[in-house]
Symmetry: C2
Subunit: 397 residues, 2 copies
């Protein structure tokens, strides 16, 4: 079992090979602003409007001709006439955001004025354009507002709306087929009684589908496929219209492990055996230009392969821009041992301002992940970390 | 205009007062595991099953009686008979995950064996229970699996599925009414032509609704309400069946700013004028036990109030557990100036491994947020940060 895996590929090299075989989808669809959050722009947005589209008062106060306020101060105020049009010696009340009337070129803040009947006492001298937002001051016709590839957030939707945009072109979400394999699996759809000895409820497919959705893909959940090469071959061939295939289970080199072999027979097996623990039996390949990830059946190993390969794969397919990954810096509440030659995925729980590694839970124990708040990664060439060491913690989402 | 706000409340105090007036919703609904991600458990999950529910082989290999392997080594192997039942001197092939046959108490890894016809050469001595997962080893009947209040992730859904759970009780999402106010607003629904001078398309309501949805609430988007106390009063009263009300616009102390006054008339105004820049004119109140946030109409100020008050408010309503907020540590590419007495919300863009503050963009310029990748906060008592200073960067989501 261990022999083939002795020639394991490093995580970085495996990911590089995998991403090299993934092309960003160019399929485009149009969505309303109400549905655009989290989607990636497939067009460059150039403004067809000026914002503001009129000269805008920046303060509550009086619109005036700046020249009329020359020399005004509290000690020596200027008196202007309240009016409904601006000419020499007149002023008009405006509130913040209102249009500055024609003829006026400045707004005096209400705090710097006193009104008495039909007169306004101006207690400050203002220069032209004071408290006046010019047409196109924020955005001009022809300005680049968003580049293609921008990941849309609620505040971006508001900017687009302010420009009169109602629908935007975005990249389609990648469709990801999730194929659970294994003679031992019982579908949850067939009832949830305790299965016979040696049989288990299928749950990795559910987990994979929910992560695919969370990471921006559309899962296509398929029936359980038994452990035989023909059935696996047929299942892959029947789903080559998708953008990525996840084959769960049967990735090791045991008697019933047909996943990677079948991928190799149908297309190209890029990597089988990866320097990550848990997750070593994962395999990566391509069939008819469709990237395929063989996820180990052990749930924690499967989860690691989802995080390490499926997530970046979906992001590349979907053109989701790289943003720095937020991390938490925490000190270890206990020592961590790590397997040399492997990137070690260590589950941790928060404990006050520290994190405690969850030890003693095997790769098959998914409940250990459910207990974990996050994980830390120990690089290949490190034997572990001492208690008190500051580490980067990633949240398990 | 500034006078009332001189008695501003600090952000921390304002948030404390606001949260004190918010009770976590106790409304519960049941969802399928397929729809449970991001929801908060409203029940404690106790396992009704053992996992595994049978003695499980942890390796591909041969199930044996450990006592039969006594003294076995490569130099001195023990020969066992391949059989279909276990008795002294016999063994049965098992793959990983299979049931260990009755009578066997250990599994010898296939790597430590050689088969020849009907015989298996055992080259290692194994102790009882070696490579055998015991019934309930991962989870026992009666074990606490998840506590009430747990935020469900895809891996948690898989754990629940493995226990035969199909639906879970979760807290209902809070319903948040979004009421845009302002005589200057034009609904996007009425066409998206450039509005007349002095009029603008309503966009803060859209932004607020999309953030409410992102943060776990259900937005109820309402029509634009004109700037008059009666209309605002009616709009609030017509929506007191929701869990939170957002009143956008009309929060300052100008002639047309009726939001906070109306909240005060209908219920209790907790805070008006907050030590955050931008965002100072925000107000917080309660009407008939429904928390109300008056969001400033200036879009950046409105965004700040959404982040500082609406987000934690929704999280409390929805019982979303506090998790440490992931942040990025970055050095400043330029000096930041800050207003003393206010928490300053400074928009920043990534620039290589640094962040650059976006300066010169007023509170009314939402496009400056669209350009920003994140923000930093400068506390009340700090005048600013020098270039090169390491700061905590929060992503704008």
């Amino acid at each position: 079992m261990g022999r083939i895996f002795k020639e394991r590929t490093s995580v970085d090299e495996a990911l590089r090979l995998f991403l090299e075989n993934i092309s960003t989808l160019s399929k485009i669809e149009e969505v309303s602003l109400e549905a655009c959050v989290g989607r990636v722009l497939a067009e460059t947005v150039i403004s067809e409007r000026n914002v503001p589209h009129y000269r805008r008062a920046a303060m509550d106060g009086y619109a005036v001709r700046a020249s009329d306020t020359l020399g005004a101060s509290s000690a020596n105020p200027v008196m202007l006439q309240l009016s409904d049009r601006i000419e020499e010696g007149s002023s008009i009340w405006v509130h913040t955001g209102a249009a500055v009337p024609e003829g006026a070129d400045a707004v005096v803040m209400v705090e710097d004025t006193v009104t008495a009947g039909n007169l306004v006492e101006i207690r400050v001298q203002v220069y032209p354009n004071r408290n006046v937002g010019q047409v196109g001051e924020d955005i001009k016709v022809g300005d680049l507002v968003f580049e293609e590839g921008h990941l849309l957030r609620p505040c971006d939707a508001a900017v687009l709306a302010s420009l009169g945009v109602d629908r935007v072109k975005v990249f389609k979400k990648p469709v990801v087929a999730v194929i659970p394999t294994g003679d031992e699996l019982v579908s949850r759809q067939r009832g949830r009684d305790v299965p016979p000895s040696g049989m288990v409820l299928e749950t990795n497919g559910l987990m994979s589908a929910l992560y695919v959705k969370k990471w921006g893909g559309i899962p296509r959940c398929l029936d359980i496929v038994p452990d035989n090469p023909d059935s696996i071959k047929k299942a892959i061939e029947a789903n080559l219209d998708v953008d990525m295939i996840l084959l769960s289970g049967g990735t090791s080199v045991g008697k019933r492990d047909y996943g990677p072999k079948t991928v190799a027979a149908l297309g190209e097996l890029l990597v089988h055996g990866i320097g990550v623990s848990p997750g070593k039996p994962a395999a990566l390949g391509v069939v008819n230009n469709v990237p395929v990830v063989c996820l180990p059946g052990y749930p924690v190993s499967g989860l690691v392969a989802l995080y390490f390969f499926v997530r970046p794969g979906i992001r590349k397919l979907a053109a989701i821009p790289e943003i720095p990954e937020p991390i938490l810096k925490r000190r270890l509440a206990a020592k961590v041992s790590s397997k040399i030659g492997y990137v070690n995925f260590i589950r941790v729980v928060f404990e006050g301002d520290k994190v405690r590694p969850l030890t003693g839970a095997g790769d098959g124990v998914l409940s250990s992940v459910a207990k974990a708040d996050g994980y830390i990664l120990v690089p290949e060439n490190i034997e572990g970390y001492d208690k008190g060491k500051e580490v980067d913690v990633f949240l398990i989402e």
